[in-house]
Amino acid sequence: MRSRVLATIAGKELRDARRNRWFVLFAAVFTLAALGLSVLGLSGLGTFGLAGFGRTTASLLQLVMLLVPLMGLLLGAMSIAGEREQGTLLTVLAQPVTAVEVFAGKTLGTLAAVAGVVAVGFLVSGAFLASATSLDRVGGFLTLAACTALLGGVHVGLGLLLSVWAGRTATAVGLALLVWLTVVFLSDLGVIGTAMVLRLTPGQLLWVSLMNPVQAFKLVALPALHGTLDTLGPSGRYAADVLGPWLRLVMASVLAAWMAAALGLAAWTFRRRGAL
């Protein structure tokens, strides 16, 4: 792969994202919501002291789990299917480039767009928090930001996989929304149901729940914010007991594995399918 070609395609993908009204809307909502949560969270600082910081970051966590997967899935889903449907992908692949270079360039551009929005949202929120509280817990905040970027990457990968597989943009976007509903809302119910029917042990429950990347994100983000994993039930307590100090690293690796698997499968499918 040639870096100049990758940079050219990634740059175009970033420009396309900037022109995409959904992306602009997500960026605006995420930044404003992050700032709003910071302001609201710290409004009771005098009363709650440092608890205000925790409250703000916990609210940010909820915001991240809702918005970032949706943004990654939709941007990924629109990326390749949209170009294939318009026919522009064919013109790009007719140039002296390989399918893998095109896929990698588009992936890098989409990842950069999502990471950019996450960075802006966290910078705005972080700057406000830093101005109003001590910097004791900045490490946790930065961990949350990094894990959020990773969560975005996982969902960009899943969105790209749907995009290369689906014949039409509408199909890819519809499937992306279905995946979002599943990982954000339905998965917990599914895990609870499975646990009750199959009488899973806490260990089995943990591995079943890791089939949802958002769960892995919770397991890495909550300890970073000095939150307790008890809120995640027996699987959370089990993870804390078994993995101990390795919990964050293991869960970050789970997220990275999710991203690598989704992107790898998407690249393979794209290479096989070609421009049509």
Partner: protein, 299 residues
């Protein structure tokens, strides 16, 4: 794989295909097509819509999976696709660039992909009369201007071989004339041209050879005069009938000895020397309304 397909494509040829076959599910879009285009030759691929012309170009570009062999100046289109595509300039039938991108941005993007200096893109825009439109979004261009832009992009990097899919299909008469002049100049400069067309006329005048495709098979390959004879004489009518009546109209005209190729709601009607008015009368008799008529210049 058939034995013939194992033979190497000729390294001397600019473009070469051996038993090239492409299937989309049950549909065979290309059926064991052999093709050879010499360096500097201008060849027209002729056939109605669905004949396999566009698919053949995509196979030569190595951007769709296929069976058989295809090569570009001796490079395997599939295994050495990137190197082969460096030698090819391609303009698709429907010009497909992002509609909200300015012309200059489109050119710069493709120049970078071809690892060409951006000033060459500027020079091409200038040569094609597109400099004044550099800041205009592609979506605001006329059909002719979009086609010019596609050709300018195809010429980035000065590739020795051009694959142009229906290059004149969306052009008005003046722009079409201009395009023919440019293609002639490119041919004189030694470029190898493979042009797809579902119409005869002026494009054929450029050709040293015409390859006729029908339902994915090569049915004729020779000088334009011979190809014209093969597809039914030199006098050609384009008749447009109501959507859904083209098949009936084709049946009526074939019964009366005309050579007919339906192309959507249009019918290409050959073999009309001395009886050009007759197809209209026959269709009227059969109760098939004719919406439009175009008489194409001969051979």
């Amino acid at each position: 794989m058939p034995h013939d397909a194992l033979h190497d494509c000729s390294p001397a040829a600019a473009l070469s295909a051996r038993r090239l076959t492409k299937r989309f599910g049950r549909l065979t879009a290309l059926d064991a097509v052999d093709l050879e285009v010499a360096r500097g030759e201008t060849v027209v691929l002729w056939g109605p819509n669905g004949a396999g012309k566009t698919t053949l170009l995509r196979c030569l570009l190595g951007i769709v999976p296929y069976e058989g062999q295809a090569s570009v100046l001796g490079l395997d289109a599939r295994r050495q696709g990137r190197e082969a595509r460096r030698l090819l300039g391609y303009a698709p039938q429907e010009v497909r660039f992002p509609i909200d991108e300015p012309v200059s941005e489109v050119c710069t993007f493709y120049a970078r992909l071809r690892q060409v200096e951006p000033r060459q893109a500027d020079a091409l825009l200038d040569e094609w009369g597109l400099t004044a439109l550099a800041a205009t979004p592609v979506g605001a261009l006329s059909g002719g201007m979009k086609q010019k832009l596609a050709l300018a992009v195809a010429l980035l990097g000065d590739p020795p071989i051009l694959l142009l899919d229906e290059p004149a299909s969306h052009l008005d008469v003046a722009t079409r004339h201009e395009l023919m002049g440019l293609l002639r100049r490119l041919a004189e400069r030694g470029k190898t041209l493979l042009l797809c067309s579902h119409r005869a006329g002026d494009i054929w005048r450029l050709a040293q050879r015409v390859i006729v495709l029908r339902q994915g098979r090569k049915v004729a390959d020779g000088p334009p005069e011979a190809a014209a004879a093969e597809i039914g004489g030199r006098a050609i009518l384009w008749i447009t009938v109501l959507e859904g009546r083209a098949a009936d109209a084709a049946l009526v005209l074939s019964r009366h000895g005309f050579s007919v190729h339906p192309n959507g709601a249009q019918l290409w009607v050959g073999g009309t020397i001395g009886r050009r008015a007759e197809p209209l009368a026959r269709l009227q008799e059969a109760g098939i309304p004719v919406l439009d008529l175009d008489v194409e210049s001969e051979g």
